[in-house]
């Protein structure tokens, strides 16, 4: 089958279909660029079909192997270590460990080195695992296969990575090009092929590439047996749109241009196969050169965390300074008198005959060198108080983030059944940033839309088909009913509540309105039965989502205006450049065309009974349903001329003659263009059509108007000569002449109607955007597409709505044609200023603003002095749409917005053109549904569908933000609480550096005894469950407003730590000394006091985390209470070791403190007292200054008994929280509800008036 269709297609010389293109200049004059070849920068030589020549220098070029990994086996250790010790805290601990080797440290070596090794080891392990995943991904790409020429005309499968420069490869339809290729020939006779470059530049239309005529004949495997040629060309560079080179083939030299080069990461479409020669491989390819290594991103909270660490460091320095000065004073004034210390005295050692006495080398306490001693004490204190710096903070956070990322990845709600893909958190260090996003910059094609057109509605001869009712109307009427029911119930409730709902008053007081509303819904429901987007059914036919019995099943023949309808369908079936593909199994054909729109038209016309089924060079054949005979007849139309579509013309026409010799001009195009060209008698339906058009446009449908005219034979002949003349003109005026010629014939048209196609949105996109808007996020649309399309999608996604005030920024024609920078700047500046003025004037009104910027205008607007004004305007708009923007501009906008507003931005896109933006934004999200991987590879998170963004941000982002915030604050708290007790003790030891606790207690503190609960908190804490998060997207605002991690909170927690440490230390000191602490008269020595104080610390910090936690699963219970238990177990086991291991902890629990009742009583007291300040704080906050999550928690979990009332309140609050949004579906529905009500009110008013 494939072969036959190929042959059929082969007959059509595609290039000839395009009237403007068919006469391509036969000889391209050697441009100046050609002369560069051989110069520096243009030195590459490729021996085609002789890859073995590229194995040796000087023609040795890199393999086609691509690596995106950060490390390799050799560099891993040094580089990863370097990365680790770039962190201040880690470096500090490294220094401490080194000093411990020099016996400067107050602790044993092992107890300093062990946690460091543990912490750094885990972080490095994580790095290694992440890099391994990258390696596997590379492996997957590198091991794809392609057919490559082996020898004597035989093509064999070859792995991508084994390809060399000079290899001849054969790429089949829908395959990616393995490297940059020179096109030799294709399955089409004239050597063209179609390439989809979405991954490179994001443009969705196919691009034509064309081989040299010299190599046209090489289109069979056999031909390559003896093929030899030499390519001389430019060196590898990242420029996608230029190529300079020439081909020496059969002793002649041909210049090459970009249209002969097929770039890696683009895809072969609509062409069965091509042959090509590898000219750039691996890292030399333009796609790879274009990609920049993704910058390592750090989240906002991590940066604050660094500042906290610095704060703690300064506290540490201060305390160390105090210690060292204290030690100096003691040494000077007191210690010399302490004979029991036998301080070294340089003079004395001399005097005494102490030859047997080794020289005392205790540098820390040398009264003759007090300053040196004090500075050594300073260093020792730095290490001693190191517990203020949470060493395990980084590693715990890393562990937590990996686990969070795992939970995000596993979330079944974000699993796409269709593609069998789930969300991937590719870098785990941005999880909490997801909770702080304020601005979303989104790509359009492939992200919001599926790049698939669906025929949705049409208006023929002034009658609209395909349903009038929009979803918005439906939702609005539903809402009103719900409101009504709710209001009836709310009458029972207290007055205060119902007062705040003026909305209800209207519906309550107005029963006739109620009836009207209900009636309205019924009507809507009835008419809407066929309207399918809500009903979730997949339309059976791809590209056709139209239900209207008046047109389907050939019912249209009964209509009054069947002749217009016939003509309409004919335009649809004939005015295009598509070709049918036969499918043997079914009668219905599939089509291929340049744009998906045309495919949608062809499919639709087939459904309506006008099947376009064959095309030859000059003839198009339709199977038409003839209304008079009610038979299917085959009709041939002779294609006389084709006036191509172009973005400036915005229309396309074909001139055909039917079997009777009648000549028609069939035209389709943008409505404004067509309406300008209508004949006076062709405007019959103009008014009705216009109103339909605006309806369609508001729904975000893309519209095209259809028109036709009959052309007299004489007129045609006359025109054709002019046209042919224009066509054959060579030179710059050719375009102009052609334009003029087509103007001559495309006039006096008769309007038939309009069609509306839907640029099909991905599933759930409007709902998702709606939720995001409710969560207070701004969505900006950045697209490479043209303005009309962008606006359509803006409407479809509810980013725009009709009552919005739109500002358009675009270059005026004069400014553009002058191309003077200054003029353009003034033009744009003027536009911005005037828009801003309007905005200031109308700010108080409810209507939100929208800004639509054109790519060229943007280029000007983003320059130096204009950009601030532009951004000021943009930020104040509810939605911003940028169209025709280049990938570079996308990245630029992202960066400027990020820098200007200082807000967290999230960029989401699917193609390689979004890579810059994805890398630039604080969070980059790639859509992994499509095949292209560039965006995903550059992204921090990859989603199979846009709609999962909702859950990713509102649920996981919110959770992760809260978790990390709580976790970091708790970490700071616990280390301050513990570290300060060390300092207080110094006050009692004359700052000599003695430690109250056993070394191993302290080592265990961060590693074992307090780490698990905080990890459990970081992974599992939920303030509210996921469904509540989704029901109250407004909760998300906690993140952007940073309520949980503000400096006041941070300072508060540090103070809490200070209080705790004071309570713990002082209580223990005063209670346990100096009198006996046991019945047998024993007093507490340093061992017992240390163990008791330490117990209090462990209890306090673990109970504190229990107070923070609001979500207790068994894991939290186990980790918190288990940690406390673990301390006792540790104490018992460690104490049971022989004394030379356990030192002063020997049997301390069993013999010493365990049996003392005082020990337990003290623990209870200290724990309660040190938690009291925090407890009081949360009690006061909850009772008198509650936060939103507190209330929702109360609503959700407290009053389970009266569920009914609760539900009412629940729904009401849910609705209330949604109110203040400007964009999104609900906002549109709100607006609609309002207008409905007004109408009803008026009706009612009239009604009462009439009475």
């Amino acid at each position: 089958m494939a072969a036959s269709s190929r042959r059929r297609k082969g007959k059509v010389r595609w290039s000839k279909l395009y009237t403007f293109a068919c006469l391509r200049p036969s000889t391209s004059e050697p441009s100046s660029a050609q002369e560069l070849i051989g110069q520096p920068g243009f030195s590459r030589v490729v021996f085609c079909n002789e890859p073995h020549l590229h194995k040796r220098k000087p023609f040795k070029y890199p393999h086609n192997y691509i690596s995106t990994t950060k490390y390799n086996v050799l560099t891993f250790l040094p580089r990863a270590l370097f990365e680790q010790f770039r962190r201040v805290a880690n470096f500090y601990f490294l220094l401490a460990a080194v000093l411990s080797l020099l016996s400067l440290a107050p602790f044993s070596r092992a107890s300093l080195i062990a946690p460091l090794v543990f912490v750094v080891g885990i972080s490095m392990l994580k790095e290694a695992v992440e890099d391994w995943h990258r390696f596997l991904q590379d492996l997957d790409v590198n091991n794809r296969t392609v057919k490559a020429h082996a020898s004597s005309g035989v093509f064999v499968d070859k792995l991508w990575k084994e390809l060399r420069v000079g290899d001849v490869v054969k790429v089949n339809k829908d395959e990616y090009f393995p490297s940059d290729l020179l096109l030799i020939s294709s399955s089409y006779e004239d050597g063209v092929c179609y390439v989809e470059t979405m991954n490179l530049d994001g443009e969705t239309n196919l691009k034509i590439k064309r081989c040299l005529e010299a190599t046209l004949s090489l289109n069979e495997d056999e031909e390559f047996r003896n093929f030899k040629a030499i390519v001389r060309c430019e060196d590898p560079n990242p420029n996608l749109y230029t190529f300079v080179g020439n081909l020496e083939f059969e002793n002649r030299s041909y210049p090459l241009c970009p249209s002969q080069v097929l770039l890696r990461d683009s895809k072969l479409r609509n062409t069965d196969y091509i042959y090509g020669v590898v000219i750039f491989s691996g890292h030399d390819t333009k796609a790879v050169r274009n990609s920049t290594r993704s910058p390592s991103k750090r989240s906002r909270m991590e940066r604050i965390m660094d500042r906290i660490i610095y704060l703690l460091f300064s506290i540490l320095l201060l305390l160390s300074l105090v210690s060292s000065i204290g030690s100096l004073l003691f040494l000077r004034h007191h210690m010399v008198d302490w004979w029991y210390l036998q301080l070294p005295d340089d003079n004395k050692v001399h005097d005494l005959d102490a030859s047997n006495q080794k020289k005392d080398n205790d540098k820390f306490f040398n009264p003759s060198k007090p300053v040196k001693s004090a500075s050594l004490q300073f260093i020792r204190a730095l290490i001693l108080y190191g517990y203020l710096i949470p060493i395990s903070l980084y590693v715990s956070i890393e562990v937590v983030k990996v686990l969070q990322a795992m939970l995000i990845n596993k979330d079944i709600e974000m699993y796409d059944e269709a593609t069998r893909k789930s969300v991937q958190a590719r870098t785990s260090n941005l999880n909490e940033e997801l909770g702080q996003v304020e601005m979303i910059l989104s790509d359009k094609t492939g992200t919001l839309t599926c790049n698939q057109m669906e025929f949705r509605k049409c208006s023929i001869a002034g009658i609209s088909y395909g349903g009038d009712v929009t979803e918005v109307d439906l939702a609005a009427s539903k809402r009103m009913n719900v409101d009504f029911e709710a209001s009836q119930l709310s009458i029972d409730e207290s007055d205060r509540i119902s007062q705040s709902y003026e909305e209800f008053e209207f519906s309550v007081s107005d029963f006739s309105a109620k009836k009207a509303v209900l009636g309205c819904r019924e009507v809507l429901d009835n008419t809407n039965k066929g309207n399918s987007r809500l009903s979730e059914e997949e339309s059976v036919i791809k590209g056709f989502n139209f239900r209207d019995d008046r047109l389907l099943n050939k019912n249209w023949i009964h209509g009054s205006n069947s002749s217009e309808i016939t003509m309409f369908f004919r335009v649809m079936a004939l005015c295009h450049t598509g070709i049918p593909i036969e499918d043997d199994k079914i009668i219905k054909l599939r089509y291929e065309a340049e744009s998906p729109e045309e495919v949608a038209f062809l499919v639709a016309s087939q459904e309506f009974g006008f099947q376009f089924f064959r095309r030859t060079q000059s003839v198009m054949v339709l199977k038409e349903f003839d209304p008079s005979s009610r038979m299917e007849v085959e009709r041939e139309y002779k294609l006389l001329n084709l006036l191509e579509f172009s973005s400036s013309r915005k229309r396309m026409s074909v001139i055909v003659s039917n079997e009777d010799g009648q000549i028609f001009l069939l035209c389709k195009g943008a409505d404004s263009i067509i309406f300008d060209r209508l004949a006076d008698n062709g405007r019959t339906y103009e008014q009705a059509t216009t109103s339909h058009l605006s309806n369609y446009a508001e729904d975000g449908l893309r519209t095209l108007a259809f028109a036709y005219r009959t052309v007299e034979a004489a007129e045609y002949e006359c025109w054709n000569t002019i046209f042919t003349q224009a066509k054959t003109t060579i030179g710059p005026e050719r375009e102009e002449l052609l334009e003029k010629a087509s103007e001559m014939i495309e006039k006096d048209l008769i309007l038939l109607g309009v069609v509306a196609v839907e640029d099909k949105l991905q599933k759930g996109v409007p709902e998702c955007i709606d939720k995001l808007a409710q969560a207070g996020l701004k969505v900006w649309l950045l697209t490479g597409d043209k303005r009309e399309t962008a606006i359509n999608i803006g409407f479809a996604c509810s980013l725009l709505r009709q009552d919005m005030k739109q500002f358009h920024l675009s270059l005026s024609r004069e400014a553009e044609s002058n191309n003077q920078v200054k003029a353009m700047k003034i033009d744009i500046l003027h536009q911005i200023e005037s828009s801003y003025k309007v905005m200031c004037q109308e700010r108080n009104k409810e209507a939100p603003f929208a800004l639509i910027v054109d790519g060229k205008a943007l280029e000007v607007a983003l320059r130096g002095d204009v950009k601030d004004q532009f951004l000021q305007l943009a930020v104040n708009c509810a939605s911003v749409i940028c169209c025709r923007v280049s990938p570079k501009q996308k990245a630029l906008i992202t960066r400027l917005v990020k820098e200007y507003t200082g807000r967290t931005t999230l960029a989401i896109g699917d193609g390689a053109n979004d890579v810059g933006m994805i890398q630039e934004a604080d969070i980059g999200v790639g859509i992994s549904g499509m095949e292209g991987m560039q965006a995903v590879m550059a992204s921090d998170f990859s989603l199979p569908q846009f709609r999962f963004l909702e859950r990713l941000l509102i649920v996981h982002g919110h959770w992760c933000y809260q978790r990390i915030a709580k976790m970091v604050l708790y970490f700071v708290y616990k280390n301050v609480a513990f570290g300060l007790t060390l300092f207080y003790y110094e006050l009692y030891t004359s700052f000599s550096g003695e430690v109250l606790y056993n070394d191993w207690y302290m080592t265990m503190f961060n590693v074992m005894l307090t780490s698990l609960p905080v990890i459990a908190l970081g992974v599992l804490e939920q303030d509210v469950s996921s469904d509540v998060c989704l029901q109250f997207p407004a909760l998300y605002q906690q993140g952007p407003r940073n309520v949980h991690f503000s400096w006041s909170r941070i300072i508060g927690w540090i103070l809490n730590g200070v209080v705790t440490s004071l309570v713990i230390f002082l209580a223990n000191i005063y209670i346990l000394s100096p009198s006996a602490f046991r019945q047998n008269g024993y007093v507490a020595d340093i061992n017992s006091l240390g163990a008791i104080t330490y117990t209090c610390i462990i209890w306090t910090v673990n109970c504190q985390i229990a107070l923070i936690t609001s979500h207790f699963t068994w894991i939290q219970h186990l980790s918190i209470w288990g940690s406390i238990l673990l301390w006792y177990i540790f104490l018992i086991l460690y104490g049971a070791l022989p004394p030379y291991v356990s030192g002063n902890a020997f049997q301390v629990f069993i013999e010493d403190i365990g049996p003392a009742p005082l020990y337990w009583i003290v623990t209870l007291l200290v724990v309660i007292v040190s938690l009291l300040p925090y407890f009081a704080h949360i009690v006061i906050q909850r009772s008198f200054y509650p936060m939103d999550d507190h209330i929702i928690q109360e609503m959700k979990y407290c009053f389970k008994k009266d569920i009914v009332r609760n539900n009412q309140m629940w729904l009401r609050e849910q609705r209330n929280s949604q109110r203040s949004t400007h964009i999104g579906f609900s906002a549109r529905v709100d607006a609609k509800v309002l207008s409905f009500k007004e109408q009803l009110h008026q009706k009612n008013y009239q009604f009462t008036d009439d009475l």
């Binding site: 006495q357 939970l407 003695e994 100096p1074 340093i1086 007291l1165 609050e1213």
Partner: protein
């Protein structure tokens, strides 16, 4: 339903699935006024009795503290106490009269208390060798004992500053001309005697140098039986500390006068440290310390007060719980 679907449904029941979906059953305590008041009341109800009991225990302890360092220096030497205490030729005996003001039940613990004595100084703490204490002269790695490691090229057992500075005041107690029986056994922790101080390790070359610190040891008694040394070598945590000296195993009646004959050998005059003699009974809680009981009572009563205050506040400025007026969106509309 396919197999995989069924499998998935079955998976949904497993704990791991619930973990990954973050839907593990959880309790979500919410701090309602009822809870707050209950917690405060509960704390108060627990703490006040505990405080009263501990206060009672502390009050039942009878304690006699007598500072003797100043007065035990004869008048003529008071100008230069240091040279007095360092001069071996002057007799150091001194008598103190302690009046018992309350009935003291045996055992009565005898402590000496030193103030401003930094036993917890790092240099001091480190200057010992636990291995030598256990193994004696067989153990050679005693560098930590510096500067009291060797004397005349012979190892010192026990080495180090701590042992060297052993407290050596002695006390004799006489009541009505009869000497009170003082038990000086079992004043050290059992684990120290059994595991940290060698049973066959005898003091050697101890206090033979030019600098003599504190007390001397009987070289014929093994370290494990030198309980004074063992007690001394348990480092005290704070610069003011008590150490157990022995136990009087007879009851003392009210108004008994105990005469203490002491040898004021130990030099605290160089650094003006105080020396005190403490006689104390003990309760189940240990010695006399009102702080704990008072703290308990204070915390208990303040949490009762807090409960009350909170209750009043709650009644007065009652925020109806789950009152949605506080939700930000409603708050906004209120302010408008």
């Amino acid at each position: 339903m396919t197999d995989t679907d069924q499998e998935r449904d079955r998976n949904k029941e497993t704990a791991f699935y619930k973990f990954t979906q973050q839907t593990l059953p959880a309790c979500k305590p919410v701090l309602t006024p009822a809870w707050v008041i209950t917690i405060f009341l509960f704390t108060g109800c627990i703490f006040i009795p505990v405080g009263l009991v501990t206060l009672r225990a502390s009050r039942s302890v009878v304690e006699i503290v007598d500072r003797y360092d100043a007065e035990c220096v004869p008048e003529p030497f008071r100008i230069d106490k240091v040279s007095y205490v360092q001069d071996d030729s002057i007799p150091k005996n001194c008598s103190r009269f302690l009046k018992v003001h309350k009935y003291m039940k045996a055992p009565i613990y005898i402590y000496y208390q030193l103030d401003n004595y930094y036993q917890n100084h790092r240099r001091y703490v480190k200057s010992r060798s636990d291995q030598q204490l256990l193994h004696g002269r067989k153990y050679h790695g005693t560098s930590s004992c510096q500067p009291v490691e060797f004397n005349n090229d012979h190892a010192i057992v026990p080495c180090g500053l701590v042992a060297w500075s052993l407290f050596n005041d002695t006390f004799k107690f006489i009541r009505e001309r009869a000497e009170l029986k003082v038990n000086r056994k079992n004043i050290a922790w059992k684990s120290d005697r059994d595991h940290k101080f060698g049973k066959k390790v005898y003091p050697y070359n101890f206090q033979n140098g030019t600098l003599i610190g504190g007390g001397k040891l009987n070289p014929r008694i093994p370290l494990s039986d030198q309980e004074d040394l063992i007690v001394w070598m348990r480092i005290s945590a704070l610069p003011s500390f008590r150490k157990l000296y022995g136990r009087i195993e007879e009851d003392l009646d009210v108004d008994d006068v105990v005469v203490v004959h002491l040898m004021n050998n130990y030099n605290t005059y160089s650094f003006s440290g105080k020396k005190k003699l403490v006689l104390s009974t003990s309760s189940w809680l240990g010695g006399k310390n009102d702080f704990l009981g008072l703290a308990y009572v204070f915390v208990g009563s303040s949490s009762l007060i807090l409960a009350l205050v909170f209750m009043l506040l709650h009644l007065r400025y009652r925020r109806p719980y789950r009152d949605t007026i506080y939700l930000p969106w409603n708050r906004k509309s209120l302010s408008v």
